[in-house]
Symmetry: none
DNA sequence: TCGCGGAGTTCCATATTATGGAACCTTGGT
DNA sequence: ACCAAGGTTCCATAATATGGAACTCCGCGA
């Protein structure tokens, strides 16, 4: 690739990015280092910059893979599919739980619902499709946060109800818990009386591209039912992820 | 986004890239210029660098869209989906025409069928999935050629039947015609008695990534029926392309 | 428990590289 | 033919990226 004048840094960064994106598999730091022939410090700095912007991400081994921005782009190119593919899952979950079921993706720093199956009860059947909710006080949002698919905006966290978690440290603790058990819960944090449970859906590159949720009134979603639904959601989301091509 | 030390150029470039990728629509230079607040010259230089590396591309108006590297990544993440997404279209076409319908992609310089709906007649119901046919004597192949998605191999064009077009100039003339009317036809050029009609399917970056075809025996696919099917295919392929995220 | 080695990050003086204002093209409109 | 808007190229300047070395972190073996 010819290097024109005044773009060395960008050229180098772009080269690294392209290499990671084109390689089918995660690229360890060392591989990128030797193959690019750049000095360690430079490589480290450039990769970190790309990571900051969501163009790259590190998997648990520290190897680099395409980041959330690219995953979102990829899933949007087929996001009509996502709805079609997920529909049977939504319906099955709806049948088993009787509650409102949603599929959501990230869009512009908030959670956007893109498909829904209505509750079979009268209470809780409103249409959420197209609705956008904040990250920190919804089960869906917390799931995206927990998996590093989204980042909290700067500034204070909006208090929607008396139970909204507005302390970042408390929230962090909860995100760790979500990663551990596989599903997220929001209990009257977005709206009084509303409880939701959510689990992550992964796309072809293993990145979290969407999330499934079940929501209903606190009178029906008692703790043991939440646990049961959490398990169901986790399982369904895992199967859907596999159908979408997510690696094991 | 916080700017750490020693990455100004990369940060700015990454910001531009993210903006273009996240925006659903092509971003004109001026928009990027004003929204990023960077000087004209800098913006121009950074965008050109990204373009050089295939991360961005300019459409015919000079507006920026995600480039070939990203498009390739997206289609790789979702090519399993292509079949799933296209299935309903294949079925609808099958119902309306009663003939064999195929979805094909390019693979190693030939056309490969990846999905099929069988004819409702007895004649013409064999399974083509996995079958590879040459570019110059199939309706599918000619469609790929016409849109510049494939190139003819060097050397003489194989004569499969007495009607196979083996002269490159004749073929070129036909490709022009295909671009004009939107669909391609092969009349007993691959196999005696077999006629096929095909139209192009475009993916997220506007490139031709697949094609739809209808094929059947010459006794049923008389000229006026070919015209009718051509129109149908063109319409269905256009809709499918939009679902796959192709620009208008 | 300690120390070793590899992997990655941070530091900081240096000069290479990006910067941006202005001039300069190019294209489409009237 | 002329003008305006939209982009690109130029070039002196200094701000920025650079990369060698020091440093931190972690896992492993003794």
């Amino acid at each position: 690739m010819k290097t024109s004048s005044g773009t060395q840094a960008v050229d180098r960064a772009a080269q690294l990015l392209v290499r990671v994106v084109e390689a089918g598999e995660p690229q360890p730091f060392t591989t990128l280092l030797t193959e690019s022939g750049l000095p360690k410090s430079t490589t480290s700095r450039l990769l970190s910059a790309l990571e900051r912007h969501g163009l790259l991400r590190r998997d648990h081994n520290g190897a680099f893979r395409p980041g959330p921005v690219l995953a979102r782009y990829a899933s949007r190119s087929g996001s009509a599919d996502l709805v079609a593919t997920a529909q049977p899952y939504l319906e099955r979950i709806g049948e088993k739980t009787g509650e409102t079921v949603n599929l959501a993706v990230l869009s512009g720093g908030a959670v956007e619902q893109i498909a829904q199956v209505d509750s079979s009860y009268l209470l809780g059947a409103m249409n959420w499709v197209g609705l956008r909710v904040p990250l920190h006080c919804s089960a869906l949002g917390k799931v995206f946060l927990a998996h590093g698919a989204a980042e909290l905006p700067r500034g204070p966290l909006e208090r929607r109800t008396p139970r909204t978690v507005t302390d970042r440290r408390d929230l962090d603790r909860e995100l760790t818990e979500i990663r551990r058990r596989g599903y997220g819960v929001a209990r009257e944090e977005l709206e009084p009386g509303l409880i939701a449970v959510a689990a992550a859906v992964r796309g072809g590159d293993g990145a979290v591209i969407a999330a499934l949720s079940v929501s209903g009134p606190s009178v029906r979603l008692v703790p043991e039912r939440v646990t049961e639904i959490g398990g169901l959601l986790t399982a369904e989301a895992a199967t859907l992820s596999q159908v979408l091509g997510a690696p094991r």
